[in-house]
Symmetry: C2
Subunit: 255 residues, 2 copies
């Protein structure tokens, strides 16, 4: 059965945050991610658009789901119309957005990341993988950051969005419910991270790709660190996700 | 003066490796990168496509270049037709490709990166920034890797392509001219990198995004390392550029 114009329009609309919020839906694509979503049952699957053999698999995997998803058999060509991927695809899921993680006090030994206006979806996807790899349960986002359910973020996260929680919150609010928690961030004149003793808990701030950590957030830092540039080095900066990986790897190396 | 169809077709063709090799040209875009290219004089600028005020700047900066570039005044709309950027742009340069770095024996204390079939242009751009930040002069690429002068790589490298040398070469050949040099790479059962003493020289191998380091390259490793996953972590892997950053930061932290 061919896709109706309205269906195409609806799924395409979910590329924009505005419509993801309006409908409380987002998409996940690709065979590997789709299989993980369907097996894991963490997110409610509302619709499955897939080629026939994938549809059978989805039917088996969601057979006890309540409510069960609407299954739509489509050709690869039709899927191309609703897909955000640049490569051919065989399955696209429309999922119900989870309730945001409530504003909560961190556990005494809990680490968290806070994105201070991160903009690039590929970077956020890579940051979710970092959080997932280094056992950081929650990634908080400033209201102006790219959001976690952007289809490019979902894709770049390689399934990490299924395990890492996220919530949009202003930094002052997060700190207000976590008084006295360490706030760690990289600044130009910070201390060499490899020579710094960091607390195992606290909030690590990730700055914007071109501006770094905002002036307001810098004032909140209790631990000002830096990734030392080699004396032969020329670059002005590192990619934001790369810098996050270096800091998180050192912070969480003991666990 | 409007762009001719042939000019549009020529510049667009440089998005493909085949035509970059055929014409020995590549493009660099955006005001920040263009300014750095023009001031630095490392690459020969053959053509400048820019809005009028930018053209004046380019004329000043290339005033003593020999041969001087052809200057083309275009509107932002026309530039949009030849640009690879997704955002509005004011200047695009057509550069002469540099001669590849000759196959050379590394200096006794020289570090290098080797890309074993890296595919994503954004990752290679981030890897060039890592090399530039940590003072690694050369990034060697396997023949199947994405190439350094892909416009998306140039863009993501944020100017690092101006400082880091690159050359395409098979790994066996690189090792043949560097007998006995350490060959370092991350593998699943490698030793915790933070507990490993690494030599300051040698070749660090970066694997493919989904397959990691190839079986052939794994056999060449003299130092098998790993980035430890936290005991609470769930991810299967890290992004390739993020992993490279973590390993390079630890390798080159002393300089």
């Amino acid at each position: 059965m061919a896709l109706s114009k309205n269906e195409i329009k609806f799924v395409q609309s979910l590329r924009l945050k505005k419509f993801r919020q309006k409908y409380d839906n987002f998409t996940a694509e690709g065979e590997k991610i789709a299989e993980e979503v369907l097996r894991q049952h963490r997110f409610q699957v509302e619709r499955v658009y897939a080629v026939s053999e994938w549809l059978e698999k989805a039917a088996l995997l969601t057979d006890r789901s309540d409510p069960s998803p609407a299954l739509h058999e489509v050709s690869e060509a039709e899927l191309g119309k609703i897909s955000s991927l640049s490569t051919p695809n065989r399955v696209l899921l429309v999922l119900r957005s989870p309730q945001p993680a409530p504003v909560h006090a961190l556990e005494p030994d809990e680490p968290a990341l806070y994105l201070d206006d991160l903009q690039d979806p590929g970077n956020l996807g890579a940051v979710l993988r970092i959080a997932d790899w280094f056992g950081i349960p929650t990634v908080f986002c400033s209201p102006d950051s790219v959001d976690v359910f952007n289809p490019k973020v979902v894709q770049a996260s390689m399934g990490a969005f299924l395990r890492v929680q996220s919530a949009e919150i202003a930094l002052e609010e997060l700190i207000a419910v976590n008084p006295g928690t360490p706030v760690i961030g990289a600044v130009l004149d910070g201390e060499n991270v490899f020579e710094t003793v960091l607390p195992q808990n606290g909030i690590m701030i990730i700055g914007n790709e071109s501006k770094g950590i905002s002036a307001a957030a810098r004032q909140q830092l209790t631990h000002r660190i830096a990734i030392p540039r080699h004396e032969d080095g020329g670059a002005e900066s590192l990619n934001a996700a790369v810098a996050t990986g270096i800091l998180a790897a050192w912070w969480r190396r003991g666990g």
